[in-house]
Symmetry: C2
Subunit: 402 residues, 2 copies
């Protein structure tokens, strides 16, 4: 074989979430009598809503008929799904030929990294969804500027200091659950013109935004089409973590530095070569999720998750934790006021003492040491267990180490 | 945005198959009265067999139940599918933890390119499935040694001259339909030890091999586990071009140059970061395809395609074409003895004069100029039309140009 990429040396043997899963499974095996409450890897827990599973059953049957069988679809995704996204998510401000259906955000991160030149530099929030750091820095070997941020919100503090080609922005943020408002977003876009960067905007949790004062889509903001590449997903919006469906927006208004060629045409060419489209069945399911009935049903699920996050946040706060999130996001990001424990120590403490599986905050950036993330995607059972345990003490009483 | 990758300059605006599709659609629009026979983009035409669609219907319904819902699966793929592939395809010579379930071969080509270091060099057959050249040379910007090959078979002539890190081998070959025998394969593996390269082995058409004298899997050959990375797919085996499912084998016996780390562990880590697994439904369908009933049903379909390819090959040969393939492959690779036309001219000639949609051979490598590829995945209607048109003349009478 060729040599090993030198920067692989810095990779932990496992990605964050498989690490969490492995540690929780080992504990469950050693202590089968402990009742676990899982707030861990951020996976959804409610089953597919009826309108989506019915559409899948119908399409599955039709795939066995000559008249209904579908082979290769358009690499960019079926037009009917792109039109629906254009209409439902972007109020037709983004056109269907600027929308690229994917099999999920992680895969599009990889394709975007393949598309951009090797020397592209990136700026990253802390805390931030860890696939970005791992993919950009440790797998692709590209340089990263770690921005100075409010650790409780992931809001960048000194945006004038951004000196990279691409700013990665996750909004609503994962893990902090914080939602940047219109003013902050507009100032970031304005800064992108001044400092000459683009924004890679991860809106996977967009469907949890409930406040009309926040923009429904980043493209409502002035200049966004020239400066923003959006990555989004059906995973959390409609429970598609097992079905694999997402999309990216590459606007026709984007321009390369020093070259008149159209980035959207290049990205389309890359997709034709390195991807063969998302599964037809997943695309059918995506259309059902954006239908009137699908939106009605999935909104009920999203509200359930939001409610669970809210009561979790409240309980954790009352027990003496600094807390953000749980408002426009399923995530609750927390740091115990009284604890000196590292994130992984806290993880172990909660697991061993209370049977809780959360996610260690340091996995979202070294600066976030001491934080942990809880997810409102947890089952009602898990939430009930945690609330009942929380009610038995006023404030956490953390050991010095664990 | 950052700069444009300089080597994008050399990319045709569209990948080969969308080019074919666009030209055929433009013709169909301008001459709606012409009856078309499609042998073009290599897509399957028969619907999913009943055992597969029934498994999909059942799983679709179960996804709406709390007890049957599946969220994130293992990034590497469900163990039950990896075990089935290990057993059915590799007679347990390859273990489940060396098998990585993917959403198709193209996507795994991209991930393997991301995994290998930037300076990795490649050697390529001509003719060869064009995603390799486009992905390696034009999108990733890596160097390629184009091997001297028999153009009718794609069999490399001077294997001692291979001086790259990775030899790409498609067997049965796409487009030539030629199947390399055990002796040639063993000599290539032996050479890989001498010249210090690995083999990236694309076996997407493996299920079409009908002759017991040919190895069922490359890993039956001596030394293969130390030297071969296999990419394979359910697309053609079971009609999954719309469902998106494949797999790759990264053996534990592979070793990096000058480093003791395990490549399979690195690849698993990369998959965890850049991929979230193939769709659960597609994996359920894959298991059904490898069940006793699924294998019985899909074998009938594969035999149908093979029969269509065989009678097409016979008809084209009788009409004065040099022909290979159609024996262990759905493809017929052909060059008219009497023609001076380029591949795209031949494509246009067949389209305009006979209503045939084939694929221009030059798309599989510049040296293959003058060839065209026909596919036995065509519908029976298309095959019947072509055979009837072929019977009306003894030999093709090609113009000097078209």
């Amino acid at each position: 074989m060729p040599h090993r990429k030198s920067y692989f040396e810095l990779l932990e043997p496992n990605y964050l979430f498989p690490q969490v899963k492995a540690r929780a499974e080992a504990f469950a095996k050693s202590k089968p009598e402990v009742k676990l409450a899982s707030f861990g890897i951020g996976d959804v827990s409610l089953p597919l809503v009826s309108s989506i599973s019915k559409a899948l059953e119908k399409a599955s049957y039709e795939m066995s008929l000559s008249s209904g069988f579908k082979g290769y679809g358009p690499e960019q995704g079926y037009l009917w799904l792109r039109e629906k996204i254009s209409d439902e998510i972007y109020q037709n401000k983004i056109s269907p030929d600027e929308i690229f259906i994917s099999d999920g955000a992680k895969c599009d991160i990889a394709r975007i990294l393949t598309w951009l030149p090797p020397k592209t530099t990136f700026a990253l929030q802390t805390p931030c969804y860890p696939a970005f750091n791992d993919a950009i820095h440790l797998i692709a070997g590209k340089q990263i500027q770690y921005l100075d941020c409010e650790l409780l919100t992931a809001c960048p503090i000194d945006i004038e200091s951004i000196s990279a080609d691409v700013l990665v922005l996750v909004n609503p943020n994962n893990p902090s659950g914080h939602l940047l408002d219109k003013q902050v977003l507009q100032s970031l876009i304005n800064q992108s013109f001044k400092n000459n960067f683009i924004i890679l905007y991860d809106s996977a949790y967009q469907a949890f935004i409930r406040d009309e004062n926040y923009p429904k889509s980043i493209y409502e903001l002035e200049g966004a089409e020239e400066k923003v590449i959006e990555i989004s997903s059906f995973s959390k919006r409609a429970g598609f973590t097992g079905l694999r469906l997402g999309w990216s927006v590459i606007s026709k208004k984007l321009r390369y530095k020093g070259c008149e060629n159209s980035p959207v045409d290049d990205f389309r060419r890359l997709i034709q070569t390195l991807f063969n489209g998302a599964s037809y069945l997943s695309q059918v399911a995506g259309l059902a999720a954006l239908s009137e009935e699908g939106l009605k049903e999935t909104t009920i699920q999203l509200n359930t998750y939001l409610h669970r996050a809210q009561i979790l946040a409240k309980g954790l706060k009352q027990a003496g934790m600094q807390v953000s999130g749980g408002m426009h996001s399923p995530f609750v990001w927390a740091k115990p006021l009284q604890s000196q424990l590292s994130s992984w120590q806290l993880f172990d403490y909660f697991l061993h003492e209370l049977g809780w599986i959360c996610t260690p905050g340091s996995g979202f950036g070294k600066k976030a040491e001491g934080f942990v993330r809880f997810s409102g995607f947890a089952s009602q059972d898990s939430v009930d267990q945690a609330l009942s345990q929380l009610s038995s003490f006023d404030t956490f009483n953390f050991p010095k180490e664990f």
